[in-house]
């Protein structure tokens, strides 16, 4: 079943590439989109099959020289394959509608890259040897780079984003490569089975883990390796953004779980404290940047950094519990992390597609220029609201369920003992709480400023609702979010199975029907009951009002309160920037915003002001502090180039000659 589904996905991908090359430009997005959706469905089938207990083991020795290709799919991999498949299917359908009417990329190369990217995403969690994983990882990286660069002719910022992505993804790839090669060299084989059985010294294991964490963390946008993410996810075409943010970043999480828990078997506590710290830093930094962002897609991208931070925080906590001998708590924290991956994929795909619809309808991503979309695009607004509810982790949204699980594992960590847990867990709870609070503010801003109130520009005033195809795809995602929000207990069994594969002990973490029960902790939560009670209470209060109003009253249309100064214009409304100003001021020391006030006085008198120019921006501080010196150093090294390469062919040949003789000399001396 799994084998057939994955093989089917590859065949469909081949057909998709063929279709991209031969079909006319007009039909191209539809053909490729259908193929990608097919790949997604195949992935979903394979993932669900793996989660229900089927196992795939496949060796294709001829496909690659030396090691061959080894594939296997266990419940852990199945979880990620299923998530990826679901996202791909819905977003690809959305992409078909998105491309209609000349929007989005329809070039041959970009369209051919899409099915390859999709199939690479699906196969990464199915890789069963280091070399297979690395090959698929690189395939995924290169095709995603092509997709990000799709609109590079239209905006120069795309090219810049591409540079950042290319540089960081390859640094990450090199780190993973070094880590896994080191590991495989000492294990005597590169299949996961051999790696799992290997006995390495603790120091070496630590080195391997840190290298692999850096590589996978850069893909998930862990601070400080996140700088590519807000650029690339914001500048890519919206369906691609959705795939990157909802599917690709998850694979970093998969990598850390696979190598850290499954292959290395848990390791030492400092690894996981490192993961915990990095996760907490990413969560806080990501959401702070999102809270002050005025660009809708940039906001969503930073929110991805935040959510991945929360997932890594969960992984770190799981690792700490695992190494302190509390497997039940470890299983709970890991389950929370995995569930959050799924929930995040659901609401982030929905939010990015909705943002794409807005971009398509108005041509702008700037929240300060949006507004009033709820009357022009009611369905998109409602769908965005569903996603925002999930992202702000409020009940009854789907984000709340996984954050609740995470908090439960952190709050009840005391039996796991040790001073470290006693100090780290309250701080982790505080970080999760602050993150959740800021996420609420962020998404109130995105929804309230972007979609409600009155239009702040002509483009926003002239927006038109998206075609039904796009709405349908988004509707599927919204239904998925609702299902995850209301019936999380239904996933209990498969979640336990995935967690059990990762930590090698059968776990029964979450269960229950209407309400969610945990193993070993007396807390329960019932999202369905809460939602029903809320609905009943709203209806009841509406009825109550009807009942107690003595007269039948109709709503009066009135003017807005204007302080007697004439009707308020749309320019008087709060914008995203002004909404975030108090937060920006509170977190001044962390964000280090730059403001420029330029006062031009009148010619006659210095006291009369002719013009005031105000400019404020919040640069990414990590980028400034960490990357600017590196880039400057690289540039200095680059200046050596003209000295080394002065144009003389003899000199170039001499480099080669001396290189070879030098190498031979060393060999002769050392042997």
């Amino acid at each position: 079943m799994i084998g057939w589904a994955l093989a089917g996905a590859c065949v469909v991908a081949g057909m998709g590439v063929l279709a991209a090359v031969v079909s006319p430009r007009r039909a191209r997005p539809a053909c490729v989109g259908a193929a990608t959706a097919g790949i997604g469905v195949a992935g979903l089938v394979a993932g669900v099959a793996a989660l229900s207990g089927q196992v795939l083991q496949a060796r294709l020795p001829r496909l690659l020289p030396l090691a061959g290709v080894q594939l296997a799919l266990d419940p852990l991999g199945g979880w990620f394959v299923a998530v990826t498949g679901g996202v791909l299917a819905a977003v690809a359908l959305y992409g078909i509608g998105y491309a209609g009417g000349g929007h989005g990329p329809s070039g041959r190369g970009v369209q051919a890259a899409l099915p390859v990217f999709a199939v690479a995403l699906l196969l990464v969690p199915a890789a069963a040897s280091a070399s297979t994983l690395l090959m698929l990882w690189e395939l995924m990286a290169v095709t995603s780079l092509l997709l990000i660069l799709a609109e590079h002719r239209a905006r120069p910022a795309v090219a810049e984003a591409g540079w950042w992505y290319a540089a960081l993804t390859h640094v990450g790839f090199v780190a993973i490569l070094l880590g896994l090669v080191l590991y495989a060299a000492h294990a005597g084989g590169d299949s996961f089975a051999e790696l799992r059985a290997a006995h390495l010294s603790p120091a070496l294991r630590g080195v391997v883990f840190v290298l692999v964490l850096a590589g996978f963390g850069s893909k998930s946008g862990l601070v400080p390796l996140h700088v590519w993410l807000p650029r690339a996810h914001a500048e890519a075409p919206s369906p691609v953004s959705a795939m990157l943010s909802a599917a690709m970043v998850n694979l970093g999480v998969y990598g850390v779980i696979r190598v850290g828990f499954d292959l290395l078997g848990g390791g030492s506590r400092w690894w996981w404290l490192l993961v915990l710290t990095l996760g907490a830093a990413s969560a806080l930094y990501g959401i702070l940047q999102a809270a002050v962002a005025a660009d809708l897609k940039r906001l969503l991208a930073y929110s991805t950094v935040e959510n991945m931070g929360l997932v890594f925080l969960g992984l770190g906590a799981a690792g700490v519990f695992h190494t302190s001998g509390a497997p039940a708590l470890a299983a709970l924290a890991l389950a929370a992390a995995l569930l959050h991956v799924l929930n995040h994929a659901g609401f982030k795909a929905l939010l990015f597609t909705a943002a794409g619809s807005v971009l398509r309808a108005t041509g702008t991503r700037d929240l300060d220029a949006l507004g009033g979309l709820r009357s022009r695009m009611p369905a998109t607004t409602a769908l965005f609201a569903v996603g925002a509810l999930g992202a702000s982790a409020l009940p009854p949204g789907n984000g709340f369920v996984s954050e609740w699980l995470l908090l439960q594992s952190l709050v009840h960590a005391l039996p796991a003992g040790g001073v470290v847990t006693a100090v780290a867990m309250p701080l982790a709870v505080a970080v999760v709480a602050l993150t959740a609070g800021l996420a609420v503010a962020t998404f109130v801003k995105a929804l309230g400023v972007g979609f409600f109130a009155r239009p702040r520009s002509d483009a926003a005033a002239a927006a038109r609702e998206s075609p039904p195809g796009m709405l349908a795809a988004m509707g599927v995602l919204a239904l998925g979010c609702a299902g995850l929000a209301l019936a999380p207990a239904a996933l209990g069994q498969v979640l336990s199975r995935a967690v059990g594969t990762a930590i090698h002990t059968p776990a029964n973490v979450v269960g229950g029907g209407v309400s969610l029960h945990l193993a070993g902790i007396a807390s329960t939560m019932s999202p369905l009951l809460t939602a029903v009670a809320l609905a009943v209470a709203v209806v009841a209060s509406a009825a109550l009002i009807r009942l107690v109003t003595t007269r039948v009253t109709r709503r009066r249309a009135v003017a807005l309160w204007d302080c007697g100064a004439g009707p308020p214009t749309p320019r008087m409304q709060y914008t995203a920037t002004s909404f975030a100003e108090p937060l920006q001021r509170v977190f001044d020391d962390v964000l280090a915003p730059e403001t420029d006030v330029d006062v031009t006085p009148h010619a006659e008198s210095a006291y009369l002001v002719a013009r005031v120019a105000y400019q404020a921006r919040v640069p990414d501080r990590v980028e400034h502090a960490l990357y600017a010196p590196v880039i400057a150093a690289a540039r200095r090294v680059g200046r050596l180039g003209p000295v080394l390469a002065n144009g003389s062919v003899h000199r170039y040949l001499a480099y080669g000659f001396f290189g070879i003789t030098g190498l031979l000399l060393i060999l002769a001396v050392t042997r």
């Binding site: 005391l414 309250p426 609070g437 801003k445 807390s523 939560m525 709203v538 009066r556």
Partner: protein, 314 residues
């Protein structure tokens, strides 16, 4: 789900719905008397509500469904909270939903609907109120959850009824530093969440200092009645939650016989707390908005100290 539980919960909801405006009236009256005014009487908020309920709601130009739905949603969350939080009884049929994190989430949901409605009006006041309210909400969150940590770590559950029952069984726990510190931290949070002095002045209509009032400026008629009513219910529920967590005596279990006693105890405790809060408010001034983070950072320290002391004194 047995009928006793249903009846007890229904009584609890009715008490909150009917009593909330009276609590606000009581606090205003205390303030008035201490300031040397006669005051409008305890039932004035009810008279106001009756008046507002006779007026038609207004739909200002350019507002949409968020503006119209928000009062209902706010009322809805308040009703659910009134049913879920153990004020009179620990045996609510909604017990599986009576998780502290869920309660905090529902409170935040109510605030969020109001903030969205304020943004929906598209006025400077609405935006200002929403922006400030969200800032405070974000900063309050860590204090609440860390205090919850301190309260629930020893009980082994974040279920409210479980925490209250555990305190009832071990009354000495209330006098421990962990519990006192958590109580102080949560008290500051309650003040901030309900928009009382020194964080927000419920009586102000000065543009630059408003938070809550700025958000509800455009409401009129039944809409305003709902918002005011729900706000007073939130105040009652939060004060009641404080008393339930730290002075739980009198709260009934599933039996109906204990209900009258529980009702009397609840009324006395919440009224005393309300009178205290009203009296304190006479003597303090509103903080500048950008000093509020200091206050909340202080409450956060209290919460962390609560957790720490629950460790090292355990």
């Amino acid at each position: 789900m047995n009928p006793n539980e249903l009846i007890a919960t229904a009584v609890q909801v009715v008490v909150v719905v009917v009593g909330a405006p009276l609590l606000v009236g009581l606090m205003r009256q205390v303030r008035a008397r201490l300031e040397g005014r006669a005051g409008a009487g305890v039932i004035q908020p009810w008279r106001d509500l009756r008046k507002l309920l006779r007026r038609a709601p207004a739909t200002p130009t350019g507002t949409g469904w968020a503006f119209r739905l928000a009062p209902l949603l706010l009322m809805g969350t308040s009703l659910v909270l009134a049913a879920v939080v153990p004020l009179l009884t620990t045996a609510s049929p909604l017990d599986p939903a009576a998780d502290l994190f869920a309660v905090v989430g529902l409170l935040a949901l109510g605030t969020v609907t109001l903030a969205l409605a304020a943004l929906d009006t598209g006025t400077a006041f609405g935006g200002m109120g929403a922006s400030r309210e969200m800032t405070i909400l974000a900063l309050v969150e860590p204090t609440i959850l860390v205090a919850v940590f301190a309260l629930s770590a020893r009980v082994g559950s974040t279920n409210l009824a479980a925490i209250v029952t555990a305190t009832l069984h071990d009354p000495l726990r209330v006098a421990s530093p962990a519990s006192l510190l958590a109580a102080a931290a949560l008290a500051i949070v309650v003040v901030a969440e309900t928009g009382r002095l020194p964080v927000d002045n419920p009586a102000t209509h000065l543009e630059l200092t408003m938070i809550h009032e700025a958000m509800v400026l455009e409401y009129a008629g039944t809409d305003l009645a709902l918002v005011e009513w729900a706000s007073s219910m939130r105040l009652t529920i939060l004060l009641g939650l404080l008393t339930s967590l730290f002075l739980p005596w009198g709260i009934a279990a599933a039996s109906l016989a204990a209900l009258p006693l529980a009702l009397a105890a609840f009324l006395v405790k919440v009224a005393a707390l309300g009178v205290g809060l009203g009296a304190v408010e006479v003597f303090i001034a509103k903080l500048r908005l950008f000093r509020v983070p200091e206050l909340l950072a202080g409450s956060f320290v209290l919460a962390v100290l609560a957790v720490a002391s629950s460790f090292f004194l355990a």
